[in-house]
Structure formats: structure tokens, C-alpha cells
Amino acid sequence: MTMHLLSGDRPRSVVLTVLLLAILAALALAPFLFPGVRSLETAARICIFIVLVASYDLLLGYTGIVSFAHTMFFGIGAYGVALGLTHMGSTPGAMLAGTLLGALAAAVLALAIGLFSLRVRAIFFAMITLAVASAVAVLVSQFSALTGGEDGLNYKIPRALTPAFRLGEVAGLKITGKVLNYYLVFFVSLALFLLLLRVVNSPFGRVLEAIRENEFRAEAIGYKVVWYRTIATCLSAAVAALAGSLFAIWLRYVGPDTTLSFEIMLDILLMVVIGGMGTMYGAVIGATIFVLAQNYLQALMGVAADATASLPLLPQLFDPDRWLLWLGLLFVLSVYFFPTGIVGRLRAGR
């Protein structure tokens, strides 16, 4: 049963299995284990980024396609929900319609980009995605009447998902709409992750790997490489859009900075590389470590700066404003010591 859910893709490392189970348990019980607003925020973000990074791994790690448009698809899903809720009222129907239309729009756009550019060299595809993503970001900030421009959009979500909605108590925890909202994020993320895990372990997933390894030979044994690449791109875009929709439902706000910025694209790249490309589980590890670092590294550094206040130089190094420096260092070290990512390293043994 478990093997079936995992599509027969074992973690193949004891340490990795333990890590994955710990992350799963922590996320599944987050409202009970870490009841604070901030920590629930972090847990939801981890869930969403696991899906976002896993959908990017399908492209980069499994198919060998470099895309810079992944945040654009994420943003399309987020804006889909935002527009649905803004214009159709804060009903579950509007939320669902916005989600599905966002995913559809992302898939159609990916299809267009794919058919237009996947026939030619991979670098051309990368450049086209960069151009399209920049164009969309500009459009979103220009059409402020529809998108709220740089300010983004605030909107109401169905009441059952807001803190104002109260259901009673379970194990000492007040079950509010916020908790329900978290479980919506958690279970949809889990389902999407397992779906991606199935896809990469399907016959289709094997062809993607073959294309990554040797596209010339894949074509020569009868696979129409362009179609496989295009389908992978569409699927990856649609899942990224669904992650974006979850994010928009969770935050009750969308804006260019939270969903479309190039910074998020870089974050995704870092998470996929740190976790381990072409492994899916790397997305879980990479996203968890990265989001935790993003949220708690600054606090940790504040503590370290205070503790070393009497020493020379160190307090400056640990100044919370330097957190990006440390994150960068963490990244360089992890790429240097684990070129195949944390998952690759764990699987290879010591």
C-alpha cells in the first residue's frame, strides 16, 4: 500500500527515510505541534514549496530542460484564484474555478512556449522562458486595474478557511478556519507530490529520463521527443500553478513580489540543487531546509550575534542583516560537498 502510494520509489537510504518521515509527521501535525502563527505560516510555505520545487524537478532533474518561467506559472495559479475570488465573490466555487482556470492557462501557455521552442536547442527554450516570464511580470504590473499592479490584490476567501470560523477543540487546539485552511494546503500538496512521484515512475517518466540521457537515441528508438518534452512542460506548469493557487488561498493576498519575482525562481533553483536533482525526494529536503533557513536563520543569527557581542568581528558577521551571505555560503558549501544534492549523497552512502 505505502509502496503503491510512493509508486515503488523507495527512499533507498535509512537516513533519508527517517528525515522524510520526520518532515511528514511535523507537517501533518504542525497545528498541534507548533501552534504559533509564525510557525504555521512556515509549515504551509514548506508544503507549497515542496510541490513547486518537485514540479520544477520534473523538468530540470528528469527531463533536462532548463526553464526560467516556473514562478510565472506559480503566479498564474495565484492570480487565477485571486481574480476568481475578487470578481465572483468569496465562495468555494469561485475559488475552485480560479484554481482550475489558472492551471489551464498555465498549461496552455506552456504548450505554446513548448511547441514554439522545444524543437530547437535547449538553450533557446531557456531564453524564451526568461523573455516570456519578464514580459508577464511587466504586464501584471502595468494592468493594475485588473491585477492591482505592484500593490497586488487583497481578497476574501470562503469564511470556513478564515480564523474567524470556529469549529471547537481537539486535543487542546482550537480548530479554526485557519487550521482547516492549513489542512487544505497540506493534503492537496501531499496529493500533488504523490502524483508527481507517480509520473516520474511511470513509463512516461522513463522516457523523460531517456531524453535527458540521450535525446538523439530516444528519437532513434521511436520516441517523439518534442511531444514528451512538451507534455512534461505542460504538466510541470499546471502543477506549479496549483501550488500558486494554494499559496494565494493561504495568504489571502497576491502580489508580484510573493508570486512572480525572479528571486523566487532563484530560490526554486537552489532548493532543487540542494535537495538533489532528479530524485523528487530532493524537493522535500531542499524546500524544508531552505524555507526553515529563510525564516529562522535571521533569528538564529541574532542570538549568535548577542552571544558573541564581546568578541571582535564575530558580532558583525552574525548580524541578522547578513543572513543572505550565510545562505549563499550554505549553498556554495552544499554544492561543493554534495554535488548530487543531499538525497544523492545519502543514497550513495558515506
Binding site: F204, E209, R217
Partner: protein, 254 residues
């Protein structure tokens, strides 16, 4: 009356001013093994590339099983019955031996677009792939990544991929190049077995005369991209052009 499976009509390709394959017209019939010989750079591999579609022809046509495939993609030609093994080993290096062959069988049976089934649950693909691996005696190495195989075993796998494809037209480009004397016979025996299936045709680019002598029903000679001789082995081997080419003498224009 034996059936013509593959035919090229005035097939030509120019790279800049250089004519690499020059108006080659030739028909390949079922049950026949045709050896293609010629000095280095004669255009043998390029002729193969034109037939299997890796490069586009400047002029001329290719027909496969009676259908014009000149404008078809590599994948379409393959699905139509053309199988090609490559001169330089051309596999999926970090995938296992079994996975390499299974990918071919999967292409053959059109299961590639199945997204939601588990690859491991398609046991029929694995069984068929194992049968091929047993035939080339690579079954015990099935879980090894291809990059860990010896050169000889990679060549065997190259042939296994073609057998798994089960095409109407087999194209081998120096299948035993770089193999040791005790490895080569395995591959040559396999080609002889394929030849016994009378409904196929085999094209074999080969430099070794003893191999050609034992396997070929017919020899064609390419010289500077053009068809210089075509006929039964004894006749072609006795011809001036082959005598000169393989005695190490300068080739003269014919």
C-alpha cells in the same frame, strides 16, 4: 519474387561544396544481407544517416516498405520499421542495462504516453527485455549502469537494442569495431541469426573482409560518396576497385 523493403533513389547530400553522398540508387530486398564497404570517409555513415533521417537529403528519395519516408522524422521512420545501431556507442549511460532495452520495447508497444501507471508494474516489458538480454548474454549484467560496462558489452547492448526494436530493416554500422577477438563472434552470430529470419533485410557497414565473406549475400562499394560497385561478394571482391582499396593502393576514380 523477393520483396523490396528499402530503396534509395538518387539519394544525395552536400555539405557546403562537398558531396558526401552522391546520387546513390539502391534497393534492399527481404532475406538479404548487404555489406556496405568503402574507405574511411567514403560516406557510409552519412548514407545511413540519410536513410534513418538524422540528416536531411539535398536531393533524392527514400522509400521504406513502399512508402516515401524522405520527409519523415527519425522517430516516424523507426516506427515504420527502420532500426539502426550506431558506429559510436550511443546508449543511455546512467540507466541500467535492463532499462535501456526496456525503453526500446516500451517504444515498440506504445506505452510511453502512460503517465499514471507504474513502470515497474508493466512486467510484460521486463520479461521481453530480459529475453533479449539473454540472447546477447547480458542478462547477468542487467542492473549495471551502462556506463560501467566494458566496450565490448556496450557494443553487444547496442545490438540488443536493435533486436528489441524488431525492425524490418536492420542497419549495423561497424558492429564489431573495437571488440576483442573473443567478443566479436557473439555479435556476428546474432547477425547471422537475424539473417535467417527471411522477411527482413540487413545493411552492414564493415571493414573486415572475413566477416563480409562469411555473412554477405551482396556487397555495395561506396567511393567518394558514389556507388562504385554492386553485386555478389565473389564478383565485387574480385573487382579492381575492391582489390585496390583493400590492398592499400590508391583508389582511382571510376
Amino acid at each position: 519474387m523477393t520483396q523490396t523493403l528499402l530503396e534509395t533513389h538518387g539519394l544525395t547530400v552536400r555539405f557546403g561544396g562537398h558531396v558526401a553522398v552522391d546520387a546513390v540508387s539502391c534497393a534492399f530486398r527481404a532475406g538479404e544481407l548487404t555489406a556496405i564497404v568503402g574507405p574511411n570517409g567514403a560516406g557510409k555513415t552519412t548514407y545511413f544517416n540519410l536513410i534513418s533521417g538524422q540528416i536531411a537529403a539535398s536531393a533524392g528519395r527514400v522509400t521504406l516498405l513502399g512508402e516515401d519516408i524522405t520527409r519523415k522524422s527519425v522517430a516516424e521512420r523507426c516506427r515504420h520499421g527502420l532500426g539502426r545501431a550506431f558506429q559510436l556507442t550511443n546508449l543511455f549511460p546512467s540507466l541500467s542495462v535492463l532499462e535501456n532495452v526496456r525503453l526500446v520495447i516500451q517504444a515498440q508497444r506504445h506505452t510511453g504516453f502512460s503517465l499514471l501507471s507504474m513502470a515497474a508494474s508493466h512486467t510484460e516489458l521486463t520479461v521481453a527485455a530480459m529475453a533479449v538480454l539473454e540472447r546477447v548474454r547480458l542478462d547477468r549484467l542487467k542492473d549495471q549502469p551502462v556506463s560501467a560496462l566494458s566496450h565490448g558489452n556496450q557494443r553487444k547492448l547496442e545490438v540488443a537494442m536493435l533486436i528489441a526494436l524488431d525492425p524490418k530493416v536492420y542497419m549495423f554500422d561497424e558492429p564489431t569495431a573495437g571488440m576483442s577477438v573473443d567478443e566479436a563472434p557473439v555479435v556476428l552470430d546474432l547477425i547471422a541469426e537475424l539473417k535467417a529470419e527471411r522477411d527482413r533485410t540487413i545493411l552492414l557497414v564493415e571493414h573486415k573482409m572475413d566477416v563480409i565473406r562469411s555473412l554477405a549475400d551482396r556487397i555495395i562499394v561506396l567511393h567518394n560518396g558514389a556507388l562504385a560497385a554492386d553485386g555478389p561478394p565473389a564478383q565485387v571482391m574480385a573487382s579492381d576497385i575492391v582489390q585496390e582499396a583493400y590492398m592499400g593502393k590508391e583508389l582511382t576514380d571510376v
